[in-house]
Amino acid sequence: MRGDRLRLYSKLSIAPAIAALCLSALYPFLFSLRLSFTDATTYNFTDVKWVGLRNYLYVARDPGLLYSLFFTLFFACVVVIIELVLGYAIALLFDRGFPGRQIMVTLMLVPIVVAPMVYGLSFRLMLNSFIGIIPYYLDRMGITVDFFGSTWSSIATLVVIDVVQWTSFVFIILYSALQNFPPELREAALVDGASWLEAVRYVVTPVLKPTLWIAGILRFVDALKVFDTVFMTTGGGPGNATSSLSIELYNRTFNQFRLGEMAAFSVVVLLVVSLLLKPTSDRLEASYRD
């Protein structure tokens, strides 16, 4: 009797959350799965013809779509590595202590709570070749850079924007891990004659490794979603050089009206990213279990 009631309660308590996700994510996904096998366009997505796998063949043959997938992966790898290195270095600096540290930690958190769209907007102004502050100083040093002119300068600019905004994310996770680090362990190493750098290298870093992984994984997951800052600065250009997955899908959906093809691309991206990130959710689940 009691067991039955408990089982009923268990089901009732999780049902609303599951139902909400089915409505807001699973249903749209199934809808786009259906569209992906049809000739739907923006003007007509209800009365459609089945076209089999034609849209998937289109996706497989389209160099732009493939490029955006690789560009996004490349971008995510680059920013994660830079942010991990910088974030960890800054966390170590803060961990050694200095006057006014608490205020500095609070100020470090500013980029995390400010909308990425706002950071993108600000960089667009700061990099403006007529009135921006950065070209102004570069000009005085005799350097002229067209930040959004070439492929590599655009990519580098986007990497810098991401690093400026999200290094704080890695920093705060590692800083709090360092603050909780067992002091005996580090002191033992220092007593044994190790330098601070050696203690960091051989004692602190190995213990922090799981936390470094989590910070890196979470940044990677979010970097794959990059949209706001790209939209506010390069818009995916020049050409499609900085067209991330989100930008590519957005631009094509609103400029080309090819719904069937874009639905197929959405499905492919969902499958690829799911497979790619499967270890991520396992890792996070494992860290909850310990």
């Binding site: 959350a17 996700l21 807001s24 500095m104 958190l109 769209m117 705060i172 990213v273 689940e285 279990r289």
Partner: protein
């Protein structure tokens, strides 16, 4: 001596990372002439014109955007908490669903929202919800619910289980234990999750851009729409961005203690 050097280094780092916002703050107090007088310059006479421009300009319905952002963000908080608290409690204590269910939830947080954006865009129009705050309230659920469940689950797990067990032995139903015993103890976690959900929803850009135009537009989209076109009114735009960012800074500082746990979905205690 070296501790002062470290302070100096930290100051430089903070200045660089916060500079984009500081720069918009500075620009928002510059007059048009000082912003676009040939080239950048530090010196300027501070004016309030830009704030006057955005708060009293029919072409830029600032209060409308702020109102929408507030409705979407607080509505998301209410929906997310109502749906997530019972689920998180059951998953942490009654072990409902196991690792399979929590991974299933997490997958919606991990996937780029763009993969649902196209069907969402069509369905929202199909059901007559285009350009409304309702479309955003629905669209933000796949990111917010998994986040809330994961973080709240880690908070529940740290509560002492004895009281709950004693109440259960005395015949209290799980629902009653959740409401009378767990909820009061869980308050810090609920506040942290609520505030972070508010910030995420307020700052969200992609869905707001795709699903709304004017009637349901939020502050982020409203500000961004100011940019497109022939001339960019940098002063008013900077002021609008500052107005959008300030409330989030205040809220962020309130949850500073729980920020690490929130950002890592409960995986790192902080």
């Amino acid at each position: 001596m070296t501790k002062w050097l470290r302070l100096l280094a930290a100051l430089v780092i903070v200045l660089v990372l916060d500079f984009p916002l500081l720069f918009l703050l500075m620009t928002s107090f510059k007059s048009d002439v000082d912003i676009s007088a040939g080239q950048f310059r530090w010196a300027f006479r501070p004016v309030l014109d830009n704030y006057r421009h955005i708060f009293a300009n029919p072409a830029f319905p600032l209060w409308h955007y702020l109102g929408n952002s507030f409705v979407v963000a607080s509505g998301s908080v209410a929906l997310t908490l109502a749906l997530s608290i019972p689920a998180a409690y059951s998953m942490a204590r009654l072990r409902v669903g196991g690792a399979g269910l929590s991974s299933w939830f997490l997958s919606f947080r991990i996937l780029p929202p763009i993969v649902f954006a196209l069907p969402m865009f069509l369905l929202v129009r199909f059901y007559g919800l285009a350009d409304s705050v309702w479309s955003l309230l629905i669209a933000y659920l796949p990111a917010n619910i998994p986040f809330a469940i994961w973080v709240l689950r880690s908070f529940v797990r740290e509560l002492p289980v004895d009281i709950e067990e004693a109440a259960a032995v005395d015949g209290a139903s799980p629902a009653r234990v959740l409401v009378s015993i767990v909820l009061p103890l869980l308050r810090p976690g609920i506040v942290a999750v609520g505030i972070l959900t508010f910030i995420f929803s307020w700052n969200e850009f992609l869905y707001a851009l795709m699903l709304t135009l004017q009637r349901g537009a939020t502050m982020t989209v409203g500000t961004a729409r100011f940019v497109t076109g022939y001339s960019i009114l940098w002063g008013p735009i900077s002021a609008a961005a500052v107005v959008a960012a300030i409330p989030m800074l205040t809220l962020g500082f309130l949850v500073q203690r729980f920020l690490v746990r929130g950002l890592t979905l409960g995986a790192v205690k902080g």
